[in-house]
Symmetry: C2
Subunit: 402 residues, 2 copies
């Protein structure tokens, strides 16, 4: 008998029919003799509808009250799923985040899970109940409701799997698993049977929309057996594991990311600690910097370029302008007309030719490279927007991933 955590997103429970599809998956797993914990997001558009209601009343509502409001969405979906499972004749109980013992910090709207107090869940599992838990939410030390922000339900599922020592954590989605690239762009894209945590982390941070990074990080930290699979086809999916034996295929996936803006600081004084100061400022505001290039100094000045998410560009520019004196630069420019294309693979570090092969693919396709950044398991390039799909196709073909 295993303990299995299953997570279903909002589209999987969008209407009564889909709720019963989920109920069927859950009860099938239970029937096979497993203990089952199910994590559910809010139904389809519920969260957006609630946000609209809030905006009508107060566009600047406090995050605390937003979390109070939004957390009702998952409360509705867990109750409905529990009712569907009752209808199928299985013992079930639904729990909100706080009832499930999900304790978070007080960073409303993007809280991090501090701890899961599993007592109640364990009690319900001992009673042979299927346990449905509201994803995306928890409570802080003041007993106020918090939400986990983007991808929060994935994180809830992995946290519960870790805390309850689950044998498997299945993330159900509307695709069959993790692919070598987006099948909507490259029809020949292949589903991967397995992938390592590190590769998944790179893919996720590079725009593959399957799993949120925080959940993968947590799974890696607590060594949770993750699996991404489709709630529609119910095919085996992709296992995300600690160590994956690489056989031949050095590059595991190609991704693109359009949510990128490039910021350039020209004429920064070439004294130690300048770059450090810029990035420390951005980090304090939780603005993630991705690619960074620093030109070699000349006339005692250097240029620093980096990328941030497009949604954070306003904030980034304001911050830098406000601190022109401290940073010391001549010129500030930016563009959002760029895209990032990346290749990911654990074997890459030991094979110097991989990056060159990628650049060759782009050169053959007549695509200009603006910036380059590499890590042990990825190579990312910044290119002009509009060329990203062409780039993905060219690279995917070059590495024979199809």
């Amino acid at each position: 008998m295993s303990l299995i955590v299953q997570k279903f997103g909002g589209s999987s429970v969008a209407n009564a029919e889909r709720v019963f599809n989920v109920a069927d998956i859950v009860t099938s797993t239970y029937k096979e003799g497993n203990n089952v914990i199910v994590v559910v997001s809010a139904q389809g558009d519920t969260t957006d509808d609630l946000i609209d209601k809030a905006k009508e009343i107060n566009p600047n509502a406090s995050k605390r009250e937003m979390d109070m409001l939004l957390s009702s969405g998952e409360q509705i979906s867990v109750a409905l799923l529990a009712m569907a499972i009752e209808k199928l004749g299985y013992p079930v109980v639904s729990l909100t985040g706080w009832q499930a013992g999900v304790l978070t910090d007080s960073n409303y709207s993007s809280s991090r899970i501090r701890k899961v107090n599993t007592e109640r869940i364990q009690l319900e599992l001992d009673k042979k109940n299927i346990v449905i838990v509201a994803g995306f939410q928890g409570i802080n030390r003041y007993d106020d409701i918090t939400t986990l922000g983007r991808g929060g339900s994935d994180t809830s599922a992995v946290a519960l799997a870790a805390a309850c020592h689950a044998d498997l954590c299945e993330i159900y989605t509307d695709v069959d698993g993790v692919f070598t690239t987006d099948p909507r762009i490259v029809p020949e894209a292949q589903k991967l049977d397995e992938i390592s945590f590190d590769e998944m982390l790179e893919l996720a941070s590079l725009g593959a929309n399957v799993l949120h990074n925080r959940s993968v990080e947590m799974a890696k930290k607590y060594n949770v057996n993750l699996c991404v699979r489709s709630s529609l086809t119910r095919a085996p999916g992709t296992a995300v594991k600690e160590a994956v034996k690489v056989e031949g295929m050095l590059v595991r996936g190609v991704t693109k990311d359009n949510d990128v803006a490039r910021v350039s600081l020209c004429g920064v004084e070439d004294t130690p600690g300048k770059a450090f100061r810029v990035f420390q400022m951005l980090a304090k505001k939780n603005i993630n910097v991705d690619l960074i290039i620093q030109s070699i100094g000349r006339d005692n000045k250097k240029d620093i370029s980096f990328t941030v998410q497009q949604t954070r560009i306003e904030e980034t520019l304001e911050l830098i302008k406000a601190n022109q004196d401290v940073i010391g630069y001549d010129d500030l420019s930016y563009t959002t007309e760029v895209s990032k294309v990346s290749i990911v693979g654990a074997g890459m570090v030991t094979n110097a030719g991989v990056a060159a092969k990628m650049f060759e693919a782009l050169y053959d396709a007549q695509i200009n490279i603006n910036m380059i950044a590499t890590s042990e398991i990825k190579v990312s390039v910044l290119i002009d927007q509009g060329y990203e799909e062409k780039a993905v196709k060219a690279i995917h073909k070059k590495f024979e991933l199809g």
Copy 2:
């Protein structure tokens, strides 16, 4: 500085405009230097919409999961009201039932409040926050969410007022207060400036839809100063108090109730304890019996007639049929084609002529009386359905309540 509890029903917060109307009432009270606790119901049709969603999935869903589902409705409205008050620039915090310390028994969907743990509310009041509490809900000893059933938010408000030793508990509604009878039937109906708990209890149980009985009972028990007033006109309303000085007006109100069914048991053995057995059975199932008539025995047999709510008639008949042997009767009959019309007034008990005057009014209007029941402060009669409005008008006029 006083502590005031204000309760607003679902129609008072049905849309953004009305939410701001409530926010205005609340902040005006706060501005005058009062501490304010606000109890809110779910917005307009939210509860009905949620019930529809549940029915689509499982018409026989457990009450526990129904409570989990429905309690999300008030969570939404407290958050939205808090956001409106934030917008007006006042310090505010919203609390769910469990956060507000509302502890109930485990009778899902119609729980009773066992206790209110006021620690959190007190903390927020000390911080000078306006405290918005979700009505209608609490948690039981297992930390499961419960709802209080019909009129639950009134009860929440009174319970909080009692527990926090509030100086006043204002129940806001869409009418100006308690009237001598339904103004939609009798336009000359007068608003009462004050009424006693006992009179209010009788009026409520007799069909006046202003306050739910449980809340009045609780207010009487803990001597909470209640006030019923309109959230639209904001007129002073009707004070509901322990002792009301009766000046001249013996009869305080006339009510009708169509949710009545009459059940008749004919040929019941005339031995002690028979009636007791019938009503004990009904009480065990929580079926409230109202008017009771027992005929004088003849041939060692007697007839027992009584009224119950129409919604409970099926259950009542089944129960009696299943126990024909135990009760011992010849014939069982019932009708739902009846209405109850009542007069209520604290001074009535000392004035024998009141009942006679009521009967005279009905006689003058050619309305036949089926059953009569009297208490210290009320007289109720059962009449054929269809005549109730005529009866109310005639009685209202006879007692010169206009």
